[in-house]
């Protein structure tokens, strides 16, 4: 296997909580020991519900907030080291935010916003404008009509196209898309998703695609990472995850998708209650409080990601650790059992 373009090792972010007198009373474990790698040219989807740490992960990757622990390596070089200064890293990795309006400066025209990044990397003002207009064209906005406009004169979909152009303006190799299509109407979402696929081919990009929408993640991703309360629950190739979800949480999440078939509606909610608060999360496996299969050990042990099926599919679950002595074939049986019991 090739060396990954981006590697994340034990990334952790804890926000301390203080009481009125400033004494520490606990911490929000927003991201807790998350490791994964991004292969060149792939799209890795991150799914999870609010509070699972997917957006914090994105901001940590972009170095917008400082991690409590852990490393980010770009092509094997530690980000922020003398080998790879932050500024150079930011030329390689860019991000598109969810709120298309808040992520554009309301006082700048569209082309000025897009041209800002390249100029910070030494491109002349004139060349940056040329590049901005070229990019507007590439994202489907006629530069003649749109270059001189202000954000409030654009629709949500158009603004998100501008944000994509802005991210591409420094010619990055990785783009992190943090809920980039979530705020859009379905018909516009489809347009932007198609655009993202085209741009990926055209510019040879690698995507980290963060979303709560399983359908969209399934559509666009090569691999999927499921997060729960700041930790990775499961990671694997998209089809493998959607066909054989191993982690009880992944199973519940998939089963929570509306059926789309009027004759086979969902009978009972796959899981009760709301996701717990990431403040002082449950001990052991964080999902054990809501898990149907939880055993005594689950509240004590937190399992790391375990490889399942030739290193392509990983799951963090006591069930699979307990049956670790089983051959791979019987583990598969176990997964099927889990799935059956659940269905």
């Amino acid at each position: 296997m090739n060396a990954p373009i981006l590697e994340v090792k034990h990334l952790t972010k804890h926000f301390p909580l203080k009481n009125a007198l400033g004494a520490k009373t606990g911490q929000v474990r927003a991201v807790d020991d998350v490791s994964f790698a991004l292969q060149k040219g792939e799209t890795l989807g991150i799914v999870g519900e609010s509070g699972c740490g997917k957006s914090t992960t994105a901001r940590l990757l972009m170095q917008l907030i400082a991690p409590t622990a852990g490393d980010v390596l770009f092509e094997g070089k530690a980000v922020g080291s003398s080998e790879l200064p932050l500024k150079e890293f930011h030329r390689q990795v860019q991000m598109v935010f969810q709120d298309s309006y808040s992520s554009l400066n309301p006082r700048l025209t569209v082309e000025t916003s897009i041209a800002f990044g390249p100029q910070m990397h030494g491109v002349s003002a004139r060349d940056a404008v040329v590049r901005a207009r070229d990019l507007l064209d590439r994202v489907g906005l006629d530069p003649k009509r749109f270059a001189g406009r202000y954000p409030h004169e654009l629709s949500g979909g158009q603004r998100q196209r501008v944000n994509i152009a802005r991210a591409l303006a420094v010619q990055p190799r990785i783009v992190i898309l943090d809920e980039a299509v979530s705020a859009l109407d379905k018909s516009v979402e489809a347009q932007v998703l198609n655009l993202l696929l085209d741009l990926k081919d055209a510019f040879d990009l690698t995507y980290l695609f963060i979303s709560h929408d399983l359908n969209v993640v399934r559509y666009i991703s090569d691999r999927v990472m499921v997060m729960y309360l700041g930790q990775v629950a499961e990671l694997g190739e998209t089809e493998s995850i959607f066909a054989t979800p191993l982690h009880p949480y992944s199973q519940a999440l998939l089963a929570s998708m509306p059926s789309m078939d009027p004759d086979h509606r969902t009978e009972a909610p796959p899981i009760a209650g709301d996701p717990p608060n990431p403040i002082n999360p449950p001990s052991g496996c964080r999902f054990h409080t809501r898990c149907k299969f939880a055993q005594a050990a689950c509240s004590v042990n937190a399992q790391p990601l375990l490889a399942y099926k030739a290193n392509q599919h990983y799951v963090a679950c006591e069930f699979f650790a307990a049956n670790a002595h089983l051959s791979i074939a019987s583990t598969e049986k176990a997964a099927a059992e889990l799935t059956e019991v659940h269905a």
Partner: protein, 297 residues
Amino acid sequence: MNTFSIATAEKNVLAVEQSPGYWSGVFRRFSEDRIALFAGFVVLILVVLALFGPWLVPADPYQSSMLKRLKPIGTEGFPLGTDELGRDMLSRLMIGARLSLFMGITPVLFAFAIGATLGIIAGHAGGWINSIIMRTIDVFYAFPSVLLAIALSGALGAGIGNALLSLTLVFVPPICRVAESVTSQIRGRDFVEAARASGANAFAIIRVHVLGNVLGPIFVYSTSLIAVSMILASGLSFLGLGVKPPEPEWGLMLNTLRTAIYTQPWVAALPGLMIFITSMSFNMLSDGLRSAMDVKQ
């Protein structure tokens, strides 16, 4: 060093439709606000009086006469009467605009420069820099403004310079607080994060992304302080802590005419009316600016 100068970059790479910018929208909304326009007109007249007063006055504002003391409004030759030393009220009120406006506006200008700088730095930097600046500001904020102005002037002694100094110190804390709060709001917006993520340094971010969004609100807030400053500055002179006689300044005139409220009450009240009109105009102007800039987008 990169220079960020799209404005000067050649626009003609391609003929582009240029949208009217934010400020032209502000100008249009402001020009549709009749109350604000009227207030602006009044302020304009006062500014003209302040600048060209000496050439406009009908009589010498310093010329006193024991015989013509405290004439009523409508006296021939003295349309607004005379003061306790027999000087022409109309001329003194007109030329009074010069010192009164100067004393009212200058402290706010100084305070805007100092307060906005400190506030933007504190708001953008956050952390311990923010703490040091804002906690110091808090101490000055812990004095009611009138008390602080009078205490400082009282300690420093009467005089224009001391009054300006103490008024500036009074207005720095509120402007700094507003600047800090709008800046930290802007700092939290995604476009500032995006700018950081594009590799820009703090200086470029402040210049391109922060200033354009915060200077407007801070400026509008500061203009609303001009009204307060007018009242306070004249108040200092009224107490004898600001401008010294015989200079014509409305607050001081009000003070010296106070003894005449039983003999020529309406003449005595005139300087105060001028302060009132000025302060009211600045308030309405500031309100109009604020609503012209407050766009729901």
